[in-house]
Structures are given as C-alpha cells and as structure tokens.
Point group: C2
Chain length 346, copies 2
Amino acid sequence: MYDVAERSGVSIATVSRVYRTPDSVRAQTRERVLEAARQLGYVPSGNARGLASRTTGVLGLCFPDMADPDAEADAEADSDADDAVMLYSDQIIRGMERAARRHGYALLIAASMEDGPESVVAKVAGRVDGFAVLARTVPTEDLEVISRRLPVVMIAGPREIDHLDHIVVANADGERELARHLIEDHGLRRLAFVGGEVESPDAEARFLGFRQACRDAGLPVPDAPDLRAEMMTQAEGARAAEALLDRAGERPEGMLFANDQMAVGALRALERRGVRVPEDIAVTGFDGIPLSRIVQPPLTTVRQPIRRLGEQAVELLVQRLGNSGAEPVSLMLPVSLIRRASCGCG
Amino acid sequence: MYDVAERSGVSIATVSRVYRTPDSVRAQTRERVLEAARQLGYVPSGNARGLASRTTGVLGLCFPDMADPDAEADAEADSDADDAVMLYSDQIIRGMERAARRHGYALLIAASMEDGPESVVAKVAGRVDGFAVLARTVPTEDLEVISRRLPVVMIAGPREIDHLDHIVVANADGERELARHLIEDHGLRRLAFVGGEVESPDAEARFLGFRQACRDAGLPVPDAPDLRAEMMTQAEGARAAEALLDRAGERPEGMLFANDQMAVGALRALERRGVRVPEDIAVTGFDGIPLSRIVQPPLTTVRQPIRRLGEQAVELLVQRLGNSGAEPVSLMLPVSLIRRASCGCG
DNA sequence: ATCTAGGGTGAATGCGCTTTCAGAAGAGGG
DNA sequence: CCCTCTTCTGAAAGCGCATTCACCCTAGAT
C-alpha cells in the first residue's frame, strides 16, 4: 500500500480511501492510484483491514468432524451415492453460503478436530464477525467464553447457554403429526417407537412428540422408547425391527423410527422376514433423506428444512450484528409430513 | 490480550507464547495465563495474528454465482431434488474442505458477484494463504495481479495465466474413449456430436476427444460439432435431438452430448418422437450426474472426479505454500467411462 | 480583491498480535 | 562464593490498513 501511495504520488490515506470510499477521492486521483495498484500487483490485506476496522465481513460455521456417519457409511457401500448425496453439513453450508452472499459476507467453514488448546473454534472465532455451531461440535465452556465476544448461533442443539441464539427444527411437532396420522388416518393402535441414544436431543424430541400423539389419542403413553439404537444406522434399524418382531405378545401395527436410516434398515429386515409393508406393518422415519424416496416401499417420513436452518442462522447473525442488545432468539423451524407408501398412503 | 497479560501478571509476549509455543512457557505460568484468559473471555484476534505473522491458516475458494444453472433449473422443477443433489460447487467445496482439514487449514468460500472494484476476489484474496478459482469466475486480469502475490490454482479452466497451477479433468480422453466404445464395441458409424458454446473449454475439449476417436477409427473427422447449444440444459438438449432427427439425410446412429443435462433432455425428446434408445439410436452424455443413473434408459456417460478436483486443488496450494519457487503444475485428472443402457450396454 | 465554504488530501495514531533481542532468574561447577 | 550456562520472560518494533483531525486549495460570494 505504501508502494502504491508512493508510485501514484499520494499518501496511504488516499489509497485507503480509493478502496473504502471511492467517491471521496477525485476521479483523476483515483484512476492514478488504481493504475499504480495494478502495476504493482497490490492486494489489500484483509487482515490489516480487519484489524483496523474491527470487522471482517466473514461469517463462520463449525461442524462436527463426522457430520453424518450414516451417510458416510452409505457412501462406502455405494460410491455413486457418495458424489450424489448431500450430507447434513453440505446442506447447512449451502444454506449459509447463499444467505451470507446475499448480505455481502463470505463464509469460513471448519470441521472440529481435537487439536491444541481451543482448537478449531479459536481459528474460526478470531477471524469472523459471528458464527454458527452445529450441535455437539464445540465444548460448551469454550462457547460460553467466545459467545461473550461475538454473536454465536447454535444450530439443532439444546440451549445450553442461555444468551445464545439458537435454531432447531420442530422435531416433536413433526413426530406427533406423523403418529397422529398413523393413528387417526390409518387406524393403527399398537405403535412401537425406536429411538436413539439419550444424548441425542433430536431423537429425544421426536420421542416426546410420539408420546404427545399417544396421549392425544388416548392410547397408553410409554415412558421410554420401545428400543434405543446407539448409532441410528441402517444396521441398527434392521436389528431393532427384528427384535420388535421377535418380542413376545402382539406384533405392533406400526414402527416409528427416530430417523430415516434406521427405517430403511428396518424395511430391508422386514422384507427378509417376509413381513409386508405396509399391509402387515407400517414403517416411518424422520429427516427426509434422498434415500427415503427411492426405497421400496417409499418411506413415509418428516422432512427437515436443513438448508433453511443454515439460512436462518445467517439471518440471526446478521440481525445480531446490527443490534447486539436484542434478546436472545430461539427459532423453531416447521417440518413437513411426507406421506408415502410405507404407512399405507399413496 | 493486554488485559490477560495484566491479570496474570506477565507481559503480552508471554501470553502470545502460551498460544503459539506453549512449551516455551513454564507450566505454572501457562496455567495462570490460561485461567486469566478464561475469566476474561479472551478470544485471540485472527486478524492481528495474521497481520503479524503474515499467514492466515485459511485457504479460499471462489466459484461462480451460478455454478450450475442446470442443476438449479432441475431443483425448481423438483423441490425434492433440490435438497438431494449436490451441485458442482458443493462437491468441490466438500473435496477442498476435507483436504484442507487434513492439512490444518480452514476454508473460506465466496461466490462471485458483481460488486465494487475487485469485488469478491479481493475479499478472499486478502484473507487467505492461497486459493482456488473455478473457471470463468474471476476476470483474468484480476487473477493475473493477485497470483503474483499468493498461490492460486485454477480449477477446470484453461491455462490463461501461465504461472498458475491448474487442474482439469481429462475431458478429451473421456470423450474419445466414449466414442471409441460406440464405434468399436457397438459398431456405430454415423455419430453426431452436440457441443456447447465456444467459450466453454470443457465442451470444446470433449469435442476434441470426439474428433480424435473419429480419426482413430478412420471415420470422417468433423471440423465443428454438428450442433452447439448455448446453455447446455435439458431443454436445449431436447431441441438439439429433434433438430438432428429432422435433418436431411441419414439419421445418425448415435448422438453424443457434451454433458448429461443435454443428453437427458434428448432422451425425453426421443421418447416423445417414438425413437427407441438404444435400439434406434444411442445416446451418451458427460459428467456422471446423479440424474444420469435414474433416467430411462440409464445414461452411458463419463464420470468426472469432481470432489478430487477440490482435494487436488488444496494439495497443490499446500505444496506451493511450502515451495513457492517450483514450476507451475498442470494436473489432468482421469475420468471413467460408465457404460449403461443408453448406448446398448447392460 | 477578500472572505467563506467545502471538497480533497496528508500526518499521525492505533488496531492486537508475533518476534527478535536482551536481560533476569535459577542451576550447577569450580 | 563467584562464574557460566540454561530457561524464562519483558521491551519494543513493526505487520498493513482505517480513521480522525487539521490543513490546503479552489470556487463562489461579497
């Protein structure tokens, strides 16, 4: 910059103005400066600019190293799918990128890994005006510290820190609506719910929705899922389905899985056992992954607006950057029931 | 940082060392500093660090605003596909992110848009240690200037600037192999090639491959594609297919399209016309997009390793950051022929 | 010809951190 | 008890830019 200033016969202040507030510089001077910059191959330092102006024009995203183990597993099984199917994190990224672009921000993305002290977050946090975090990516205490200095929004996670903005999808509402549909529209009564690990807030919320539907319909309200899967993968889903079949007592009329992966696994297990879906038993999932459309029968499920999650995160960040004093916001994005053949529809 | 230093009774130099070279500080002192940092909610400024150390730990990617108009169009037609299908840019991002992560870098992404002077590139270029550019994203002259200051790798574009590293896929080889397959294995002779706009280096390279195959087989070598599509979309592909059918003279035995989108459009047009594929005519595409697997008949095509493009880009950047004096590298990634029903295979 | 605005420009300061370069504080050795 | 050798730590000088604040010049007004 000093070179540019010297070469064009002005001070560095003027060079700075040429880039920041072009109108405040006489056109002729401006041209001289730009020409000099071109000749010298001048590239303004974002770092210096950021330091001086205390703002970066960049938003960030931290996501878990293994954002979607199921999809990874799928990918290995079918290398075609690998290139075709978007992971959860891909969709978030796409959503955030679009929204950030609209607001004139660039997006810095980094997957968490164990590193030195503070690790990834530190890297991101120090270089952005604000950032989003996917659930269970960053230690709560780190977030606590960082969120005191800049806007942070938690995506799809519990509200561990009360002054954080956060966004979730309507897991409970979706599952409730799904169960209601099975009960009221298809007349099913004996429903089994297959949940996930206790620490998964999503899976738990979905189970809660299931309970509500049972209560609403006057059916017995279970205290806990009929089964819990550790990994929520297809393999676990298949195992769960078989376990439910082999259980003493009457066979359930419907199996609700906490996610699509498990439901798909169940579909395959049931087929092996010669159990017809949906004639003998209804099966449902949650998420609306691409695979749910392709399996036979197509899976009734609940679609999450994952991309909108990312978009909304950016909106919240931008809002907070404009008005840091506002009350913490807590958004819940609506989901939509997708009725397909696996429950008896279509 | 000054506050942390004061609170823990050391100088800022020591605080800096705690983060940069923890081992050079006595354990006891280190703990005191970290504790103070925690209490104060200290977040190191990436900008300042970058300024002082002249390195950011971030790699960048600039991609076109409309990375893939075809996919966009698809998405509108089928909102399901929108969430499911990865765009070209999504795959590049995924590849780069993975590779960057391995090397300890974060990734800054920004789509180009018309803005002030220098626009997006300036934003990215000033904040990264090096970056990748998708073809036709950044004006050549800007690239020329920037690439004098930091490593830049051009992805899937022509080598406009000779000192730039660049990566392309083996477009010509792939198309050549594809055409060879049609000619030798299926015994076809009258082949028509539908290309893209002249400015599309990919489409041109593919046509070149087609010519080579013709030459190899002793068939007449065309000077130009039988047709050129402006947009390379399904609609254009359909139109092209019909135009070829309606042409005077013998009907071609095979139609080779410069990408899958057009081929898919052609498939549909041919079906409407009652022309059977592959019995009456063979059809092929290029890219290996997800859709190519699903259409009827499944499309014979050439798959590009898009994700690897991103990974390789990062590898090149990292290499050059380690050794900036090296000769410019020019990589060509191999592609793979996918034989499906539309050419008569399977 | 003198005065008054204002637009243009320059000097100087500081953003928060890294990095020599020295100096201080212990640790042994003589 | 003094001297030398390590370890640690502090002082200070930037890194490249944004931003007052003050100043200068040119018009238009008087």
